[in-house]
């Protein structure tokens, strides 16, 4: 899809010939994440579909207790310190951002009255200034009014390095000013096509100035309210035991009418994923359970309990195989996989193409992941019905053999293919995790048939995903030929997701392997496209650039996408909630209710 076609499509939406949903679906099939597609329309001045929350309760309260189960409990309740989703979700019960992301990638106002657009003057022409208008009737749980001073304070608080806030990345490069008590101006250093990051979603939750003002910078850890949140959300804080329980009760002054439905909320932590699923699906002790990393087979069996259902929430996470483009077996200047080397065999595109044909994604989905891992060819992924028709995946051992034969890789006496004395023998590493070891075995078996020998290696997750500079087995070092893991799309915008393949992000000894490009794949066109996308204000052109980047990395087989990993959640049959793969589970907690 090129720029012209995109523009045509946007016009069709404007004229009502194409629905928003279809538009987003079409773009998704070209590898454009839903939020970007939504933003495209927004930028083109096409109003957001009025968000239908589906909330049917007619009065506030009276819903009894909402009991949710997170098998890893929240450990802290200050959103600026929230590292994992468990902490972000715990904080989100009490704190709210200016806007959140729904599952279709629409930006939905929460504490803002409307989403800034070029049409309503919220987005400046040069893309450097965003104006947020705040709701005027919002009160903190202690009765103090919520104003622009609070928003500005959050920027000051989070962008101060001494605070050591984990949200600093979203705030350090912007300037925030209060225009008046209910208007905030956010200025970006450079034109920012994706501006919806500070004050939006999980890193955008606002904490009250009047309670945290005295605890900026180095004193941040002393704030008593780190453990006793006072927010604007639908539930007020009751008590908190780190790692175990977060309790809240109804906020009768909540700024949206007739909400929330439940009188209390309990977020219990701890235990394991299987029994969490059991407590919702089989015994009904809890209404909702988070992140069920359980084999689908078990989920299906538990679902027959008849108390709940499994919701598969699509997001951007993907399980994929990376190739090493440098030589992991030669040390240069005290560094293996040095960018000064070239991989002896994997730099041959035929070999990578053959490997791609040898990964039986359909079987991996069918026998290992079930509904929780959808076979795919694309790096940017979304729900099954939106899967790209551009990049197809194929499992074909004969074709792989043919390719290798034609390219001169001849089978030796030991069954392993060789060319110019170089053998097709690879070390294939991943973390210790049952589905991954099963996947490794499936790939190894197929590769063997084609004359490629794979040595399987499994590294403990705490080592594999660590940043330990001294350990050779971390995934960023990639001291072997290929590896497999899930990369998460923590942000709905693909910019940070796609920087995994730019040449200035090489993971090297010099940057303590903190660079994100561990394949050390290099492509000038990709680099240029990325640089262009970073500053491209025209969302249509920018989208075309991301599409191109996705195709470049997929079609050059720098990686092999294996399965997209949607998020499985269990919920009571009667519980109604709005899910989103782009925001916290609680992004629309105010709309949760139970059917009679």
């Amino acid at each position: 899809m090129n720029e012209q076609e995109l523009r045509g499509l946007i016009e069709a939406v404007r004229e009502g010939k194409v629905t928003r949903r279809d538009f987003i679906g079409t773009l998704l099939s070209f590898g454009v994440a839903a939020p970007i597609a939504g933003q495209l329309l927004l930028h083109a001045g096409i109003a957001q579909a009025q968000p239908t929350s589906g909330y049917k309760a007619t009065k506030r309260g009276g819903g009894g207790a909402l009991k949710v189960l997170w098998w890893q409990g929240a450990t802290l309740l200050n959103p600026h310190f929230a590292v994992g989703t468990k902490d972000q979700d715990g904080s989100r019960i009490f704190y709210e951002p200016l806007a959140g992301w729904d599952n279709d990638g629409n930006l939905i106002p929460v504490l803002a009255t409307e989403i800034p657009t070029p049409d309503n003057g919220g987005v400046s022409k040069d893309g450097k200034t965003i104006i947020w208008k705040l709701k005027k009737d919002v009160q903190w749980h202690d009765g103090k009014p919520f104003t622009s001073a609070d928003v500005v304070f959050n920027w000051e608080y989070a962008s101060d390095p001494a605070t050591a806030a984990v949200t600093i990345g979203s705030y350090k490069d912007v300037k925030v000013q209060a225009v008046d008590a209910y208007t905030v101006r956010v200025e970006y250093a450079k034109a920012s096509p994706f501006w919806a990051d500070p004050f939006v979603g999980v890193r955008g939750m606002i904490i009250p100035k009047h309670l945290f003002d005295a605890y900026r910078g180095a004193k941040s850890r002393e704030a008593p309210n780190n453990l006793k949140p006072v927010g604007t959300g639908p539930y007020k804080f009751v008590d908190f035991t780190p790692g175990d329980m977060v309790r809240g009760q109804i906020n009768t002054n909540y700024h949206q009418p007739n909400r929330p439905f439940f009188d209390t909320i309990e977020m219990k932590g701890g235990g394991d994923a299987v029994s969490a699923a059991r407590a919702v699906l089989q015994t009904g002790e809890f209404d909702y359970a988070w992140n069920l990393q359980v084999e689908d087979e078990i989920l299906v069996r538990l679902e027959t309990g008849g108390k709940g259902r499994v919701n598969i929430i699509s997001g951007g996470d993907i399980e994929f195989i990376q190739f090493n483009f440098t030589d992991p077996w030669t040390e240069v200047d005290g560094e293996r996989s040095s960018i000064k080397t070239k991989h002896p065999t994997l730099t041959d595109p035929v070999v990578r193409e053959a490997m791609s044909l040898l990964v039986d994604r359909a079987s991996i989905q069918q026998f290992i992941y079930g509904r929780t891992g959808i076979a795919t060819a694309n790096f940017i992924n979304n729900p099954e019905r939106y899967r790209s028709k551009n990049n197809k995946f194929e499992f074909n051992v004969d074709k792989a053999i043919q390719l290798l034969e034609n390219a001169g890789w001849k089978q030796g006496a030991d069954g392993v293919r060789t060319k110019d004395g170089k053998k097709l023998k690879f070390v294939y590493q991943t973390s210790v995790n049952q589905p991954r070891q099963k996947t490794q075995a499936i790939v190894k078996q197929a590769a063997q048939k084609a004359g490629i020998e794979l040595e399987l290696k499994a590294v403990t997750a705490s080592v594999f995903f660590s940043s330990d500079v001294a350990n050779p087995d971390t995934y960023t070092k990639l001291y072997c030929d290929m590896q497999m893991y899930t990369t998460t799309m923590t942000q709905p915008d693909p910019e940070t997701f796609m920087n995994q393949y730019v040449s200035w992000e090489f993971a090297t000894k010099a940057n303590k392997w903190q660079g994100r490009n561990s394949t050390r794949w290099q492509n000038d066109e990709y680099d240029k496209a990325f640089r262009a996308a970073e500053v491209e204000l025209d969302p249509v052109k920018r989208t075309a650039l991301f599409i191109r980047m996705n195709d470049l990395v997929v079609q050059d087989r720098a990686i092999i996408a294996v399965v997209a990993r949607p998020r499985p959640r269990a919920s009571n049959l009667k519980l109604k909630f709005a899910e989103s793969g782009w925001d916290s589970d609680f992004w629309a907690l105010q709309d949760w209710y139970r059917e009679a």
């Binding site: 409990g73 450990t75 235990g271």
Partner: protein
């Protein structure tokens, strides 16, 4: 028996270097173990590398192990147990939050174990190789052969899933008042207490039985019987008192676990005790919490060892403490 003052003093002095040694070993092992409490920050592309570096600096994690150890030791001597990386609060607060639940659940399971082990063990010893003894012997054998994670799951399957009588998620905060509050607490504690208590009871029963059997054969028991004392008096006054000496030490040595919690059982039933705190701290690489819990536990083990020795001398004056 006079109070063995010098003995206690000497034992305490011996305990000091062993505690120091334990702390050095624990600290070094934790420092050498792979994993980084801020690993999640480093691998998240939206968080600049400086944040993790800043935090490491703030918590002094880049200093050499020896320096960190001395700093930890100095703080511990002042009663400061450290500061949790994961929750960003004092470790002592975290532990205090968990302690009541641990004591309730583990304490009542130990009590349950005693209430079963004492009568069953003694009764079985008075009638060795009777039908009762055989049945009790078989059951205790099954009891301590089955690991708690198995019996825990079994109870959940039967009482929560099949019969739907008991909840299997333990909640320390129950939103109820009056008798319902207590009832809910009892209901949710039944399974974890039963799992732990029965397991402990099984092994204790065998100890009590064999200790009582040893004593029952002694001459003074025969003398007591030939004096014409009632069997009840013989058993309770003469046999049990002496038979309990080894059992008391055994129980005393078991007491530190009331602090340590039961990792597996707490995890299965989601009991928010010290054990589950320890396991989540290990998973999060939250070293100050791991260090505090394990170190306090080793202190208690040493202290109760000493207490058991002293108790031993008091129960059996023939044993002198020098």
């Amino acid at each position: 028996m006079s109070f063995p003052g010098t003995y206690v003093l000497r034992r305490l002095l011996i305990a000091l270097p062993s505690l120091l040694g334990i702390s050095v070993v624990l600290f070094t092992v934790l420092a050498l173990a792979p994993g980084d409490p801020f690993g999640e920050l480093v691998s998240n592309p939206n968080i600049p590398a400086e944040v993790a570096a800043n935090l490491r600096l703030k918590f002094g994690m880049d200093d050499p192990v020896a320096v960190r150890y001395l700093r930890w030791l100095a703080a511990m001597l002042h009663g400061d147990w450290g500061f949790s990386f994961a929750s960003r609060i004092d470790v002592s607060d975290l532990i205090m939050q968990r302690l009541p639940t641990t004591i309730q659940v583990i304490g009542s399971s130990q009590l349950l174990a005693l209430l079963i082990a004492l009568p069953v063990g003694i009764y079985a010893a008075t009638r060795p190789y009777s039908l009762f003894d055989q049945v009790a012997g078989t059951l205790t054998f099954i009891g301590f052969s089955l690991p708690t994670f198995f019996t825990g799951l079994l109870l959940i399957l039967v009482f929560s899933i099949e019969l739907d009588w008991l909840p299997f998620v333990y909640r320390s905060d129950i939103a109820a008042s009056g008798w319902r509050f207590y009832w809910e607490h009892v209901k949710q504690a039944i399974m974890p207490v039963a799992v732990l208590g029965l397991f402990q009871a099984a092994s204790w029963t065998r100890y009590v039985r064999s200790a009582a059997l040893d004593v029952i054969k002694l001459d003074y028991v025969t003398t007591a019987r030939s004096k014409g004392l009632r069997e009840r008096t013989v058993i309770l006054k003469h046999v049990v008192r002496n038979a309990l000496i080894p059992v008391v030490t055994l129980v005393a040595l078991q007491l530190p676990s009331i602090f340590g919690g039961a990792i597996v059982t707490e995890q299965i039933f989601r009991v928010p005790g010290i054990g589950s705190l320890l396991i989540s701290a290990i998973l999060a690489n939250d070293t100050p919490v791991i260090m505090a819990v394990t170190f306090v536990l080793s202190c208690l083990v040493i202290a109760f060892n000493l207490a058991a020795d002293i108790l031993y001398g008091w129960l059996d004056p023939r044993i002198s403490l020098r």
